[in-house]
Amino acid sequence: MGIEIRGVNKNFGDFVALQDIDLSIPSGQLTALLGPSGGGKSTLLRIIAGLESSDSGTIEIEGVDATGVPAQKRNVGFVFQHYAAFKHMTVAKNVAFGLEIRKKPKDEVKRRVDELLKLVHLEQFSHRLPAQLSGGQRQRMALARALAIEPSVLLLDEPFGALDAKVRKELRDWLRRLHDEVHVTTVFVTHDQEEALEVSDSLVVINEGRIEQIGTPDDLYDRPASDFVLSFLGPVTTLGDRLIRPHDIDITRYEHAATASGRITRWTRVGFEIRLEVTPDDALRPDPVQVVVTKAEATALQLHEGDLVWLRPRVGADAVSR
Amino acid sequence: MTVDAPVAPGAAPKRRARSVTSLTRSSALGLGIALSWFSLLVLIPLALIVIQSVDGGWATFRDTLTNPQTASALRLTVTQALIVTLINVVMGTLIAWVLVRDSFWGKRLLEVVIDIPFALPTIVAGLVLLSLYGPDSPLGVNVANTERSVFLALLFVTLPFVVRTVQPVLMELDRDVEEAAASLGASRFTTLRRIILPSLAPAITAGAALSFARGISEYGSLVLLSGNLPGKTEVASVRILTYIENGNEAAAASVAVILLVVALAAIVLLQVLSAVVARRG
C-alpha cells in the first residue's frame, strides 16, 4: 500500500532525468524526496501525480495501478512551488474547485470549504482574491484546495521554496502538525536538508536520476550510505583521507595520536559557535580542515588563533558506512 | 496600452519553467484544421503569386521591373519608406521616452492618439491628411499630388510601430543600471549612448523593420492624397493594382513578389533579433 514505484525511467531528449527508480512509499507517512536541483525529484513527483508520463515502469497508488491514468482521475492532491492559485477566483472558490468539478451538493461544498479554511487558518480570508494574500497564506490556500478532494496521496513540490526564511520555518512546523492531524500519505520535494530532516518520517535522497539512500532522518544522518549523502545532509570537511562533519573533530593543544596537526589560521565566531580553519603541516594534505567548537569548549581548551593543535575524529562520529 | 503592438524582442515575458507537451490526438486534429485554414487563406494564395511571377519566365519578370513606370514606382516606394523609417526611429524613440519617463496631464490621451493610425481605416487616414495638408489646408500647406504626400501618408500610418516596440522595453529597463552608470561618473549623454541606446537597439530595429515593411506596402491612405500620378507619386501597390485592372496578372505578381520578399525579410530580421535578445537574457 502507499505508493509503489517500479522500474521508472524518464528521459528528456538526451538528458536522463530518472533511471530505474524502485521505491515504496509507506501509507500515512510524511516522506521527503531530497536532493540537489535538477536531480530528478520533482520529475518523480510529477510522474506520481500523472502530470508527466514516465518512459517505462509502473506506479501504484494505494493498491490501484495508476500508470496509464490521467492526472484528473488519480485523485491526487498536488501543491505547487508557486502556489498555482486560480487568480480570478476567491480563496473559497479556489478551495471549492475540486468539489464543484465532482458535482458535490452545494451545502456539502460549503461545509467542507469552511472546515478546510479553518484547518489552514484562513477562515477570515475566504472572500479575498489570491493577490490579496501573502505568499504563506496563498500556499496554505493551495494546501486546503488540494486536501478538499480528500486525495489518496498529497504531493508537494518544493512547497516552501518561494517563501522567505521565517515563513518557511513556520509553515514547516505547521505542515508537520497538520499531517499528524490528517494522516494522509504525503510526499514532498525539497532541496533543503534541514527542512527534510526536521519534518519527514522518512527520507529519500535522489541525485542525478538515481536513489542514493532511503531511511529515517536519523539513519541518513548517522549512517549515510555514500559521501554524497553525508555531504548533502550537512557541512563536511576532509580530515586525513575521510569526510567528516566539522563538529565531529576532537581538537587539543597537546600532542597525542592525532590524524593531523597544524596551526589555527582562521577564527570566525558565529553566535555560540566558533568556526576554525586549521592548516595541516602535512605537505601531502595542505588543504585547511574546518573545525567547529562551542565558545565554552574554546575557552576551556584555551584556543587562540595561531595555536598549534592536534585533530582526530571524535568517538562515534558520523561516517559513511562501507 | 498597446494596440497591435508588435511583440518586441526584449519585452518577452519572463517565463516560468514552461512545460510544453507533445501533441495529443485531439490537439493534432486541431492543428490539422488550423493549418489547413491557414494554408487555404494565406499560404497557398501567397504561393500562387510566386508561381505566377515565375510562370511568365525570367523575361516577364525583368521586363516588368525595367518598365520605367514600374521602376520609378518601386524607387519612390523604397526611398520614401526608408526616409519615413529613419524619422520614425528618432521620433518614435523620443515619443516612447516621453510616454515612459515623463508624466503630465493628458498623457493617457496621447496613448490613445498614438494608436489612432492603427485603428483608423487607411482610406479615412488619407482623407484626414487631405483635410489639413490638401488644397483647402488651413495651414496653407498643400502636398496633394506631390511626392511629399507619399511621405506624409507613410509617416502617419507607420507612426505607432517604433513607439510600441520601444515602449515596453524602456519600461522594463532597470533604473538601477542608469544610476550605476551615473555613480561611475558617466554623464547623462554617456549613459544614454553607452547604456540606454544599446539596450533599446533591438527594439528600435524591430520597430524600424515593421515600419519599413508597412511603408512599402501602403495603399489605402495614398489613394485620395497622392493622386497616383505615374512616374511621380505612384507607389508599388498602385502599380500592382493597375496591372491587375489591365488583366496583366503576371506583371502584377512580379511586383508583388518584390514586396513579399521584403515583408519576409522583415519577419526573418525580427526573429533573429528576438533570438539575440533572448540569448542576452
Partner: protein
C-alpha cells in the same frame, strides 16, 4: 516592474514634451479633428445625407456583416492556434509562429491579388471548383470575408500568445490534479485568465476589419450595392465630389475605430495584479 520615482525635471524634459506633443498634434490630432469639423460643417446635414444614401447604407451593412464573420473566424482560429503554439511542441512550430505575422506586413493589394489567383471564378486555383459547387468567392461577400480575415488574422494571436506564456501551465495543471477535464480546465481556468487579452484582440480585429480597403477593393470588384464596403464608398463619394457624404461616412468609421480604442483602454485593467 520596480517602482520608480519621478525623474527630476530639467529644461530638456519640457523641450522633449513640447516636440512630442507638437508632432502628434500636427500629424494626428489636428487632421483627425478636421474630419469631425468638416462632417458637421452644416449641422447634421452631412450625416443625414449619408444615412439616406442607399449606397452608403448598403455599404455600412455589408461592412458590419463582413466584419462580424471575419472576427468570428479569427477568434476561433486565434484561440486554437495560440494554445497550440504555446502549449504544444511540434515540428515546424517556430516557422508557423513566424508565418502567422506575415499578413501584417503584406500589402493589402498583394493580399487581394493572392486571393484572386486562388479564388477567381474562371482562372483561380480553387475558384472554378467552388463555383460549380455553387459558392462564388471572388467579387462576392465570401471573398470580402476572406480578405478581411486575412489582414486581421494575427491580431488575436498576438494578444493571446504573450499572456498564455505569462500565465504558464501551473494553474491548468492544478485544475487537472483536482479532477478537471480539458474542457472544464479551458472554460474555468484558461479562459478567465486570457479574457482581457481576448477582448482586446477581438476589438482590434473588429476595428481592422471594418477599415480594410485595399484587399477588399481588389477581391470585391467594388460593385455598388452588391460588393461595395464602407471604405470603398468613401473613395467613390470623394472622387464623385460628394465630399460631405465622404466625410460623414469617414467620420462614422473613425468614430467606431476611436471608440473601440477608448473602450479597450478603459476596460483593460491597468496593471496585472499578480502579486508574486
Amino acid at each position: 516592474m520596480a517602482s520608480r520615482a519621478a525623474q527630476p525635471r530639467t529644461p530638456g524634459t519640457y523641450v522633449r514634451r513640447l516636440i512630442v506633443v507638437g508632432y502628434l498634434f500636427l500629424l494626428i490630432v489636428w487632421p483627425v479633428s478636421l474630419v469631425v469639423v468638416k462632417t458637421f460643417d452644416g449641422g447634421l446635414g452631412n450625416i443625414q445625407g449619408a444615412l439616406s444614401d442607399p449606397e452608403v447604407v448598403f455599404a455600412l451593412q455589408l461592412t458590419v456583416y463582413v466584419a462580424v464573420w471575419a472576427v468570428a473566424i479569427n477568434t476561433v482560429f486565434g484561440v486554437g492556434i495560440s494554445l497550440l503554439l504555446v502549449r504544444y511542441e511540434f515540428p515546424g512550430r517556430r516557422v508557423l509562429s513566424a508565418l502567422i505575422d506575415l499578413p501584417l506586413s503584406v500589402s493589402p493589394v498583394v493580399v487581394g491579388l493572392a486571393l484572386l489567383l486562388a479564388y477567381a471564378g474562371t482562372d483561380g486555383l480553387f475558384g472554378p471548383t467552388l463555383e460549380s459547387a455553387g459558392l462564388q468567392v471572388a467579387f462576392a461577400p465570401a471573398g470580402i470575408i476572406l480578405a478581411t480575415a486575412f489582414v486581421s488574422l494575427p491580431l488575436v494571436i498576438r494578444e493571446l500568445v504573450p499572456v498564455l506564456q505569462e500565465i504558464g501551465t501551473e494553474q491548468e495543471q492544478a485544475a487537472k490534479s483536482l479532477g478537471a477535464g480539458p474542457v472544464q480546465t479551458f472554460r474555468r481556468i484558461t479562459l478567465p485568465s486570457i479574457k482581457w487579452a481576448l477582448v482586446y484582440g477581438v476589438v482590434l480585429s473588429l476595428a481592422r476589419s471594418l477599415g480594410e480597403f485595399g484587399a477588399v477593393k481588389v477581391i470585391s470588384g467594388n460593385i455598388a450595392q452588391q460588393t461595395q464596403t464602407a471604405t470603398l464608398v468613401v473613395e467613390e463619394k470623394y472622387q464623385d465630389f460628394e465630399q460631405g457624404t465622404a466625410y460623414a461616412t469617414s467620420f462614422l468609421l473613425a468614430l467606431i475605430a476611436v471608440a473601440a480604442l477608448v473602450v479597450v483602454t478603459i476596460l483593460r485593467p491597468k496593471d496585472d495584479t499578480d502579486g508574486d
